[in-house]
Amino acid sequence: MSGYNFAYLDEQTKRMIRRAILKAVAIPGHQVPFGGREMPLPYGWGTGGIQVTAAILGPSDVLKVIDQGADDTTNAVSIRRFFARTAGIETTTHTADASVIQTRHRIPETPLRADQIIVYQVPLPEPLAKLEQSRAETRQMHALAEYGLMHVKLYEDIARYGHISISYDYPVMVNGRYLMSPSPIPAFDTPKMHRMAALQLFGAGREKRIYAIPPHTDVKPLDFDDHPFRLTRAPQACGLCGARDSYLDEVVMDDRGGRLFVCSDTDYCAGRQSMRQDEDAAA
């Protein structure tokens, strides 16, 4: 792609984004405004994640891009191609081989290492947005750590349904100080964030906010002492690889209620399947 800088953004813009990232890392969970630019992909389709990735990529990086846990969903393909074209870097579908992983709505099943960075695409960075529409007011609430309203919402859930009904984008407390939206990952993935060895970066392009969780930071889902956060998942096993510990997608097989459950993390599933094949071949 001639005429464009490495990874599309000019160096000034990358520097501006990196300054925001450094600030974010220094204040875990705090939303840092940044002068986000229009990108060749639309707002809402990953421009924040793309800007963060573009700012941190170097020529020797290996990039993995997933959407809904899969490498082959159309938007993941589109973003991976964008970086292949504008940065010429190596790309991969193997979590273990990647140095930077850009993701929409899932954390890979394979635990991440200290030499990896995960970049989350965030649609709505403000965890209080649905309870308080004014950003001027939510800024005050974060500054003063006034988070009672979020607990009221959880209280209401328990009063109405008997348990907390938030199933994705579960609000978390980062480093005991800031309330944060982890992005719309399923509640199932939330515990993976706690004391993760890898650096976690979050980019919201349309809302123009960057935030971060440095490695080995406490990330606790909000709950009550007598209604603790509970991991729930489908009782089935993956129909392709047999996994019982991964997040499963429900695939509609027919219109008579036929369903198949398969791992959402395509790399994880493929890895398990090839291991099984090797075992079968050896036997």
Partner: protein, 257 residues
């Protein structure tokens, strides 16, 4: 003699050419109810807002003595500290309960919010506390999960009181708490306020245009007119034997029941 809980000296506040507060002093002792009465435009509501830190005076001092006995200049306090005070040791009961309640949150959630804001993290305990407070304001605990829009005006006001008292404040500001309610509902609410305040030992600054409310609830009374306190003292003394002509006018204009 115990020390003042709240004291104000030399308060001045003007809006353009009008002096809403023209040299006002006031004191409040722990556990006492002070009524500020006057017609609309007398400055009584402005005084309430200045005492509670919501409006800044042009001149004068408002001092609050906390639980440790330390005196604070209310208008020199950093905003976070004042906000925290309003959520814990202080309360503010609005004339219109809809100004204070969250209408999209259940009764229990409304009562429990201040507790949760202070770090309460046990659902069962918060709920028990909410049930207890609903009983104390004579709302049936079966209504704990109901939405405020299903409550009558009187019930909403009692819910606001429960929400305000949940953190056991030492000082509550009340702005015409019975305004807009019909007479029988008013009477019941006044009775409730009187009982709760006495039982919990809460100090109250109460603004009202209604002398009868002041007589029923207040230990001491300040009479305001055109931004000035024209008379003050023990409620029964002032109302039975008013000295200032304006107070005499106010008292005589109350219809004898």
């Amino acid at each position: 003699m115990s020390e003042h809980l709240l004291s104000a000296t030399g308060l001045h506040l003007s809006f353009g050419a009008i002096w809403a507060l023209d040299g006002v002093d006031a004191t409040l002792w722990p556990g006492e109810v002070l009524a500020v009465v006057g017609e609309s435009g007398s400055g009584k509501t402005t005084l309430l807002h200045v005492l509670s830190g919501r409006s800044a005076p042009d001149a004068g001092l408002v001092a609050y003595r906390d639980t440790e006995g330390v005196a604070h200049n209310v208008h020199a306090m950093p905003a976070p500290q004042l906000r925290a005070l309003h959520r814990s040791d202080w309360g503010f009961v609005h004339q219109n309960p809809r100004d204070a309640l969250r209408m999209e949150v259940s009764a229990g959630g409304n009562v429990g919010e201040r507790l949760m804001a202070q770090g309460a993290r046990h659902y069962g305990v918060i709920r028990e506390s909410a049930i207890d407070w609903l009983r104390q304001v004579e709302i049936s605990p079966s209504r704990i999960d109901d939405m405020p829009h299903t409550f009558s005006g009187g019930m909403l006001q009692r819910l606001q009181i429960a929400r305000t008292l949940a953190t056991h404040p030492r000082l509550v500001f009340m702005d015409e708490p019975t305004g807009g309610l019909d007479v029988s509902v008013q009477a019941r609410l006044l009775d409730l306020i009187r009982t709760l305040v006495a039982r919990l030992g809460i100090a109250v600054v109460l603004v009202t245009h209604d002398i009868a409310v002041a007589r029923l609830l207040a230990d001491r009374i300040l009479v305001m007119r055109h931004g000035r306190v024209v008379e003050g003292g023990l409620t029964d003394q002032v109302l039975d034997d008013p000295q200032h002509p304006y107070t005499q006018l106010l008292v005589s204009s109350v219809l004898q029941a």
